[in-house]
């Protein structure tokens, strides 16, 4: 099995963040191939399409198709952005790519810029990630010094400038248009779409934005071919994917495995459950994705299509494992608090609704639940979904509604007995 072989290939190698180490293991060969062979931009995009690489930030949009949307022949600057605003609870993979493989990300971005005719780019890194920020800054300086960035890259007519942009604390900036607003020095509040970033992005210019893991997958797709990448995974679900396995497993961590790996194998890689515990539920793609019951999850394979068929989404590959020691109401109350805290306040259903859901969850958890509270949660949820500019609110509804569906008796127990069915005690 192809494990940790693409975006985290050099993790564990001393100084893997340095250019010398990256270049010594084939780094920047893809860029040379593209510029010196040379490969036409259309050829690169065709290869990306063939790879079936889908956006690794959570939405899963086909990368090659996204790249083909960038308008050709327009005058003025086109921008390429990297979304490194990792903040969905359970997600911690981009941080490791930036810490251990910053040059793979940078090379992927340079190739993308060449393919789409972008001349300037920004890597938007969440402000709390100070260690990754410093590492990526250093890597950019190395790449400039080596002639991979700046004017006339590798002696060609292609120029590309790339900078780090530091966020200042707001989950919503992971939404691509909120990220652009923040980059323009504003509150991070999502924009209406359309227009889409390819026609109206940063400063109103054509812009493409991809996730860290997406860009870091590009160099190997170029050197080894789209078909090679596709065949690592399964049709429509090409390549490998990093799964951040967290929660109640014995060896939490980032595991980069072929798409389509059975969940039970991934769980085993993560050390399995703690002794004597049973699997209760799994959130497969970060807290914005619906929960799946443990027994169902044991038969699911880890790819976009299979998880979607099981009623949830692969998201960013953030697998949160919960065993039978977990009080579902208490856990979902905690998740609901996140969405209340992170709502940007722009759309009424979200601004009011996220707080409403949390307040009801909070009273349920604290023994003050009312008989009609479950119906209230479902009603409020159904009135939020699909009525906001961005996906944050839908993401806040998913854990509440899915957990009621799966663990209704636990919720009812809270209302009836005014305490948890499963005490997590001094947690």
């Amino acid at each position: 099995m192809y494990v940790n072989g693409v975006t985290l290939k050099n993790r564990g190698v001393p100084d893997s963040h340095r250019l010398s180490v990256y270049a010594g293991t084939g780094g920047y060969e893809a860029l040379r191939k593209v510029l010196q062979e040379p490969m036409a931009p259309e050829q690169i995009i065709a290869e990306m399409k063939k790879s079936a690489l889908r956006g690794r930030g959570g939405a899963g949009f086909p990368t090659g198709l996204k790249w083909s949307f960038m308008p050709k022949g327009v005058s003025g600057t086109k921008y390429l952005l990297c979304n490194a605003d990792e903040g969905e609870p359970g997600t911690c993979k981009d941080r490791d790519i930036m810490r251990y493989e910053p040059h793979r990300l940078i090379e992927g971005m340079i190739i993308g810029a060449y393919a789409m005719g972008a001349t300037a780019g920004y890597i938007f890194i969440r402000g709390e990630f100070i260690e990754p920020i410093n590492i990526v800054e250093d890597a950019l300086a190395e790449a400039y010094a080596a002639g991979y960035l700046g004017k006339k890259i590798l002696g060609t007519d292609f120029s590309f400038d790339l900078y780090v942009y530091r966020g200042a604390g707001a989950y919503i900036c992971g939404e691509e248009t909120a990220l652009m607003e923040a980059l323009e020095g504003k509150k991070g509040q999502p924009r209406f779409k359309p227009p889409f970033p390819a026609s109206y992005g940063l400063y109103g210019r054509p812009t493409t934005i991809n996730n860290v893991e997406t860009f870091a997958s590009v160099p190997d797709i170029i050197t080894k071919g789209g078909e090679w990448f596709l065949n690592l995974g399964k049709p429509n679900n090409g390549g490998t994917k990093i799964f951040s396995v967290t929660g109640q497993v014995q060896k939490p961590g980032n595991y980069e495995v072929p798409m389509g790996l059975p969940f039970r194998d991934l769980l085993e890689m993560a050390g399995g459950l703690r002794p004597g515990r049973q699997l209760k539920a799994v959130i497969p793609g970060g807290t914005s994705t619906a929960m799946i019951a443990g027994e169902v999850m044991m038969d699911v394979t880890m790819d976009y299509d299979s998880i979607s068929k099981a009623g949830s989404a692969l998201g960013a590959g953030s697998v949160i494992v919960m065993d039978d020691s977990v009080c579902m109401v208490r856990t979902v109350e905690r998740i609901a608090r996140f969405y209340m805290h992170e709502s940007c306040g722009q759309c009424t259903p979200c601004r009011e609704g996220m707080g409403w859901l949390w307040r009801v969850m909070h009273r349920l958890e604290n023994g003050q639940g009312r008989e009609d509270d479950l119906q209230l949660l479902l009603d409020v949820g159904s009135r939020i979904e699909g009525r906001t500019i961005c996906a944050l609110a839908d993401g806040g509804v998913a854990p509440v509604v899915s957990s009621i569906k799966l663990f209704r008796e636990e919720y009812e127990y809270h209302i009836e007995h005014k305490r948890c069915m499963i005490s997590m005690g001094e947690h």
Binding site: G90, C92, I130, G167, A170, E184, G188, Y203, I283, H341
Partner: protein, 163 residues
């Protein structure tokens, strides 16, 4: 109001964006101002806005929207403990309680000597090493009561290594 060094840092940030887009340097300028002066008081926010030729309201909007800006004084060492789900499942409440007892302060409070502030924050993106906290530039991961005690002792000893 700001040192030469901070002004240079802000000028460098400005150089990353097209000349007509000075607003893009706003988040960074506020951060640099806070790093120098500890927190963002109203006059400082207005000063930063003027520096970038922006209406002050634009700087106030940003300063009040993002969580990393401190609008009130905080302790020299600010513990930001993650309480989101993966940390919660691994005992973040216990971590907060331990810190609270050791420092004698509740969430959002600062010790009388101005040394420590305790905050609970949402996901910091280090879920595989839960429970964890941020302190200055660094993440402290896989926390236990013992590792917290060692950290506090180090900070009380006046270590300058940890910010």
């Amino acid at each position: 109001m700001l040192s030469e060094k901070s002004l240079e840092a802000i000028a460098f940030e400005r150089s990353k964006y097209p000349p007509e887009e000075s607003r893009s340097a706003l988040l960074a300028a506020l951060r640099i101002a806070q790093e120098e002066q500890g927190y963002l008081r109203d006059e400082l926010i207005t000063y930063v806005a003027n520096l970038l030729d922006l209406p002050p309201i634009q700087a106030f909007e940003v300063a009040t929207f993002y969580t990393m800006y401190d609008l009130k004084p905080v302790g020299r060492h600010k513990f930001c403990v993650c309480g989101s789900v993966s940390c919660f499942l691994n005992g973040s409440d216990r971590i907060i309680r331990h810190l609270s007892e050791r420092l004698g302060i509740g969430l959002g409070e600062t010790t009388e000597d101005g040394l420590f502030t305790l905050q609970e924050v949402e996901c910091l993106g280090a879920c595989k090493d839960a429970p964890m906290l941020q302190l200055g530039d660094r993440y402290y991961e896989n926390l236990t009561p013992e590792s917290l005690d060692a950290l506090i002792a180090e900070l009380q000893g006046g270590s300058t290594d940890v910010r």
